[in-house]
């Protein structure tokens, strides 16, 4: 082997953070995508992310994913579980599973069933704890999903973290990208999904409403502006579960009048006119 090639091999080994490949165990996969070490330098961002639903994107949707495995694949498709089927959900809920081996994908599917259906609580919790390590994390957003224009800009490169500024760091490579600041970046997961075989998944249709109803009616803000920029929300990504942002999204105007109807009978009658203004960037509610 020529020395140059050796350099490349050593270089790749030194950057395991976003390694591509086939992981055969859950430990290997979650280690390759671990974001524990980001804490020491990006402490605030890490805390915010931990408080967001992105950090719970499998365990918070467990019931629905279990139903897909047991009812969807098991009964309606009448097929054995496979990585391809699991990715119909995990393509968004835990995209790192694309790097799992076929047998690991099946193991993850059984863990999901155990976490929901096991008789013993301790078995359930143990499975849940393992699954909690699968989520939409820093590496997923700042590397894996930087692919909206991949044929023009190239695939995301291993070990590089793409961000809005691309500030230099000795800890890892960074690259500036406009993609992470665009709504279509979020739309990859917050819209209708078409897997390679074409059998669409309608988990989420919010991006369609953003594009056609919000932008289509003159709205110009991005997802990032409302969900991250405003009120220093950062990486907490508040949504339907936080009353603060929900209040902000729904304007309420009430006009009410008491009159007496039907001459002679004079029935007291209440007339109430209500205006509900959607100030979000998409339909309310979504779902």
């Amino acid at each position: 082997m020529k020395p140059f090639r050796w350099i490349c091999v050593v270089f790749l080994l030194a950057l395991p953070l976003t390694a591509q490949g086939e992981y055969k165990t859950l430990d290997e996969l979650t280690k390759a995508y671990s974001v524990d070490k980001c804490k020491s330098c990006h402490g605030t961002v890490h805390k915010e992310w931990e408080a967001s639903y992105h950090s719970q994107s499998v365990v918070h949707s467990l019931g629905g994913i279990r139903n897909f495995i047991v009812v969807g694949v098991g009964k309606e498709y009448d097929e054995p579980m496979s990585k391809e089927h699991l990715l119909r959900c995990m393509g968004c809920h835990a995209p790192q599973i694309k790097d799992a081996s076929e047998s690991l994908a099946k193991e993850i599917a059984s863990l999901i069933i155990t976490a929901k259906d096991a008789k013993s609580r301790s078995k359930k919790n143990a499975a849940k704890k393992k699954l909690a390590k699968l989520n939409v994390n820093c590496i997923i957003c700042h590397n894996t999903m930087i692919k909206v224009a991949k044929n023009v800009r190239g695939d995301p490169r291993p070990g590089v973290f793409y961000g809005p500024k691309g500030g230099k760091s000795s800890a890892h490579k960074t690259e500036k990208t406009t993609e992470i600041s665009r709504s279509v970046f979020c739309g990859q997961c917050h819209g209708i999904y078409t897997p390679p075989d074409g059998d669409t998944i309608g988990c989420n249709t919010l991006y369609g409403s953003y594009q056609d109803a919000y932008r289509g009616n003159g709205g110009t803000e991005t997802c990032q502006a409302c969900h991250m920029g405003k009120k220093k929300r950062g990486h907490t990504f508040p949504g339907a579960y936080q009353v603060g942002i929900v209040k902000e999204g729904i304007g309420l105007d009430v006009q009410a009048m008491g009159i007496k109807l039907h001459p002679g009978k004079w029935i007291p009658t209440a007339i109430v006119d209500i205006g509900l203004t959607n100030k979000a960037g998409h339909r309310i509610p979504d779902g």
């Binding site: 959900c89 059998d199 008491g258």
Partner: protein, 96 residues
């Protein structure tokens, strides 16, 4: 999301003036309501559209002799079966 309007008369009687639900219905190819992400192929959008004001009007006759009433308008939001957020509550006093 639910909009609820009630009137409470000066005699303490509570009268429902109306209720509206805003939601999305996921449908399969046979027009059946489905919950599974893999089953849903079309959406019937009965939600509040963005950048628009949706208006509702409620007219209700109250018991004869009612002198005044408090009209309560409530907006609640249910992101999940077990979670309810109280988003808005406005009370207006009417006299007759």
């Amino acid at each position: 999301m639910v909009l609820e309007v009630t009137a409470k008369t000066n005699k303490g009687k509570v009268i429902a003036m109306g209720r509206k639900e805003y939601w999305e219905i996921g449908l399969d190819l046979d027009g059946e309501h489905r919950m599974g992400a893999w089953q849903i192929k079309e959406i019937l959008d009965l939600t509040l559209p963005p950048r628009k004001t949706t208006t509702e009007r409620f007219i209700t006759e109250l018991p004869k002799g009612t002198k005044s009433a408090e009209v309560e308008v409530k907006v609640t939001y249910k992101p999940a079966k077990t979670v309810t957020l109280n988003v808005h509550r406005i009370v207006k006093k009417l006299t007759f």
